[in-house]
Symmetry: D2
Subunit: 409 residues, 4 copies
């Protein structure tokens, strides 16, 4: 794994100023061929300009791809099967996009015979870790170039100066520094840094891009149904949709109704706390709907087992270990649980609220005959409860008799 | 532990029709002295009538006690230190009240020399388990009488007939069957059964007692601050309050703003799924505030460890194992984590939403100096990230070199 | 699920005195047809007599089956993939046999149109739970008859009297009470009760049936190799063997060398502690070999994840939840980990000791090139360690700077 | 946390060749004052020479301390309360010694006004991580010097040359390279590297220092008793002993009887697998005794909870996070469980075997009255088992009725 000269590098290229500077910097610093890879993961930007710019920099191999369906089907939905929340609140919108980008980048590197890959993530964040762990897991001998950890362009002034010296176009609104940094894909948008660094101060309304505020949302509720098959959503209001189409539609519904905002101080894998403003309109609805779909279709202990491993699963994804043995093992456990998570959830969306209106399933384990306050015709024998309690109590009684009253130790 | 004749029994007595029937039935069936115990846990009912009725039945030893402060301080708050949610959604409002009632009941039994205790919980629910596990853990040789599992009054008609025959007053609105069953205390109210048994149908607005609906809540937000000390809330808007007073105030704030409703299908310990409508206005605000207070004051791994054990802790409380060695051990772990969970959380309450406006703490671990996008003056060395990633990746690289690409197994 | 009259019952029948009494008692008490099922799970007894006795009692449908291969292949080996130990010590030899017996019993019930099943386990033990949970999970409406919990033959005297009155042959050595109770199968034998009830007293040598004592074992070591494929043992000393054959051979090797004894006080699911003497000669060797096979073939985090869920998995099997969603989910996770657990372990067996002599694998992740104290030619860059440590330390440093020295809270 | 010039450094100094070279190298490279700290943790070496050598190098502040009692009392015993095993086998003998050394080193640094600390651990191992995480947690601004990651003395030849040029005495047996590397303290000795790098080859008998082989152990068993108080051993054969005295005595007993050898391939925190030969004679006996002491004194769920968190606790210690919030939280949970772990365990030591002869306790939860096969006089009602099983089975039955037979999903 010794250092070696780079011949060809595949760059994760957005077409923006920063990765354009990286593109040029790679060409100059490593004197190597640069291949660009630009993916549409639903970030909401045109990809055409990225191709044009890459051509302008003399890039010969340019990859521009729409990965939205793969993203939602193979990454977002599997993650939602686990009701995944990092630190109890975060839907992992950024984390879950990185493995797919890395995977395609490595596939392209194999295809074009590149020996290196590069990304535009900074040296303080989690994304560098996510990109690079995936790179190494997929191609262990790859050379990874992380310009933000290497170069001398450490201030905005220097970076702009480098751009000017190298004929890199600078959008007017990029002259000054952005008041905060944004990442987006079909699952969410995140905003952080600068203006948002003080966690004692609420974010300005200008920060939000994917949602209107609950206050501004219409005073009239929207009712929808979501259908699930094997734990994944497959239809809205009875209309079957592809994964990306469905998530796009949920995003619209969430946006209009002020759903999915999160103001979070989270703990980064690299060791510090950071503050992010996240908007996950469709994902927030999906999590709620999935959990309630499970509530009538999933066995108790299956659900409790899932809940108990979820924090670890979320941590793995957050930390960048999607392509790891342990994530695959947990996924096997999770997927095993979802065969009967089928049915329909009925929701009302209203000014930031998701209100459950009903759930039904051909695979329901909810049995009115057993639970009823009315006569259950022998479905449940109340006398059984006494023995159940007596034996559950036995160790506590023996403990109390030995002087350890009240579960003492 | 053999069966024996009962001399004196302490009954958890609400003063309502059902426990009045139980009282009389105990006197007749067991021909024993009955002692009543009526506790104010914030259920919102007058306790005076309970005393009067007990006197009417010839009860000589009558205990009527206000336990609200003890309830919130020693049961609710310790549970909230863990951000406890059962099955991802339920704040355990009923579960957490049972251990305290049981404990006092047993203390009274010891005081008055009773050899038995009785409760009015049915044979299908969780409450019978919670009461009885606590009884047995605290007084292992106690005789437990659960009339609903024993008696012949298995229909409403028979129960009313027994009441009439025994001069038990029946309120006019109790003649017909209630459309659903209600339990309430300072933390929450729950409604279940009968009218609410079909999970495909949303609850009627008439079900809700502790909250107005988000739709009916005022279109103007309420801003508040909550101060924490060692993980427990101590003040609202800077005004220090006792535990019960504080929770009462949060309940009012939540109620007015349409906060804290939950429509849940949950899994009972006795083995079936059931559906409940819960209202936990103050608790919902408190959970949100506590988690965000922790977000800046708790170490990452401390928080993750808490998250990983929380589902087990919630399950224990739900199942009735408050007075158990394992609950005490988990509580020791949780309490150990809260010493520095001090500070203030600033919230906006609006039509069902709890919106975070800020958090600050004298014990904050959030360090703007380190996390900043600006020059951090050496607080964090970006070069360290490379070694960090390289060694985290090492096992994945060695795996890939051995043919297990992408974290394969 | 109401009680109903029994038409035909399938009895798990060993042919011994107790289950013969049960057989006759069932015929008399339930006036129903009894079908017997006798399985060879390697308990080391002839099955012929069981058939003869059943015929003698007029049983028309008699099932006698050799299930040894299925037992080891589908129950024992899957369990060993997890390095399963209950309470840190117990190899679950009894627990793992019950699900298979129950499964066949239910299959036979379906085949012969029986509406009930019966077993000979007592009302204090775990086995009743294991049998019945499996019955109910496989045939939810089955009627379960557990004579030991029902009948009036509660003393040895009465049972013998019933046997005499009903022409049930009583072996001479069964006239008096056995000094302890024994259960055995291909994985282990267990002895418990009576003579063995005082945990302060060591078991007499007479108790042991499957092993000679370390003291009596030869003073000369036996060396063997075990080959693994996908986590299961497939050959001894290079000779491929079927699962049951292999375990039989390991049992011989263990027996001769005094390996696999355990004197345990364990916690039963029904709530009390009990004391058992277990002999698991082959299983003890297998556990040791499997763990060491994994040590060079399993990824670190895959192994740690397995270790972290193992206690729960063991508890499930011990408690009788083999046929449960949660066991299936854990099994999916475990099995996913074993694809590359291939290779050979070299052992020395000597007077109770299992001594590791070497392990090798075509899928080894142990890389001498990386770990070497010698020059590693760049396989590992020691400078990376600094960054790795620095970032792992970051939260601790920030904590210490905030006054929480030494990881304080 | 920017780099700065070093004024005074506290070196963890063994007095051996390597740390002597480091001492001199620090003086020359950093031109700073060096303070030496030499601790007796039971490694079995004279400390006098270390002082003399330090004087010879002109060291003015020399600390030589006997930390054996503190080591065993505050580190070893707390760890053993959890029955701690890393990766199912390793007793963590090296890992547990590092935090104490680091703590004293930092205390000395504070006392003498040093701004840096240094250790002699290499860049590939776990020890560098353990030392440095502890340093940073205790003194977050300390400068850490890890010569093996910095210097140019990367071959044995160069190191010896430096020693000669700097008048560092070289023992005759250090001229050639050692065939493997050794670490030792009162809990264990470890040997690794070079000769031992091939895991397919068994270690030569010459490697072992703390134990004779089972083959060489006497053919006569030694019987002992160990008394516990609150989970810690306090006496052998009824003779009360201080922690270090007791562990020393257990080491002798283990050594003589061939107990405590381990040949392990383990997973290092820095990412690779490594192979070590460990000898932990006393610790192996202690683990066995403690677990069996707990078997009669610890509640079932308390024990299971401990078992479930143990792997994480072991990992924390192995990885160097002794001084962390999460280790403290887990310790609180563990310690809470040990109040009643009192009593006596009776053992027989024989040729590598530890054989349990009995256990007894004033706090025993084992109740012969309940568990007995004989008439229990009503201590346990067998009828209770039916209700217990029925309700445990309920969800499985409902699942099966919904088409998910056998716990299907």
């Amino acid at each position: 794994m010794a250092e070696k000269k780079v011949k060809k590098v595949v760059l994760a290229y957005s077409g923006g100023l920063d990765t354009s500077v990286i593109l040029r910097w790679l060409q100059k610093t490593y004197e190597c061929e640069v291949v660009t890879f630009t993916a549409d993961l639903g970030q909401g930007e045109e990809l055409g300009p990225a191709r044009k710019k890459a051509e302008m920099f003399g890039v010969k191999e340019i990859f521009v791809e729409d990965l939205r369906e793969e993203f939602v089907r193979d990454y977002v939905f599997p993650m939602f099967r686990a009701n995944t929340l990092y630190e109890g609140q975060y839907l992992l919108g950024t984390s879950i996009a990185r493995p797919l980008i890395s995977k395609r980048q490595i596939e392209i590197a194999e295809q074009v015979g590149a020996d290196a890959v590069a990304h535009g993530a900074t040296g303080k964040g989690n994304d560098q870790v996510r990109f690079e762990l995936a790179y190494y897991a997929l191609k262990p001998d790859v050379k990874v170039i992380a310009p933000w950890r290497e170069w001398e362009l450490t201030s905005r002034t220097r970076l702009l100066q480098f751009a000017e010296e190298n004929q890199i176009p600078i959008a007017h609104d990029k002259r000054g520094e952005a008041p905060f940094s944004v990442d987006a894909n079909l699952l969410h948008s995140s905003s952080e840094g600068k203006l948002l660094e003080d966690p004692a101060v609420a974010p300005d309304e200008i920060v939000f891009q994917r949602t209107i505020s609950p206050e501004d949302a219409p005073d009239k509720a929207t009712e929808i149904t979501i259908d699930f098959k094997s734990g994944d959503p497959v239809a809205i209001n009875g209309v079957a949709m592809s994964p990306a189409t469905l998530l796009t539609r949920l995003n619209e519904l969430g946006k209009e109704n002020g759903i999915g905002r999160l103001d979070l101080v989270e703990n980064r894998f690299v060791g510090m706390k950071s503050r992010g403003i996240y908007e996950t309109p469709g994902g927030t609805i999906l999590l709620f709907a999935h959990r309630n779909m499970e509530s009538i279709t999933l066995d108790r202990e299956a659900g409790h087992l899932k809940d108990s491993i979820m924090p670890r699963y979320a941590e793995l994804i957050y930390n960048g270990f999607w392509f790891s043995p342990e994530r695959r093992m947990l996924q096997a456990l999770i997927d095993e649980s979802q065969h009967s998570v089928n049915g329909r959830v009925h929701l009302k969306l209203y000014k930031g609220n998701i209100i459950l209106m009903g759930r039904e399933s051909p695979n329901s384990l909810y049995d009115m005959r057993v639970v009823t306050f009315e006569d259950d015709e022998g479905a449940y024998n109340q006398v059984d409860a006494q023995g159940f309690i007596k034996l559950n109590a036995l160790r506590l009684r023996l403990g109390a008799q030995a002087g350890r009253r009240g579960g003492g130790l």
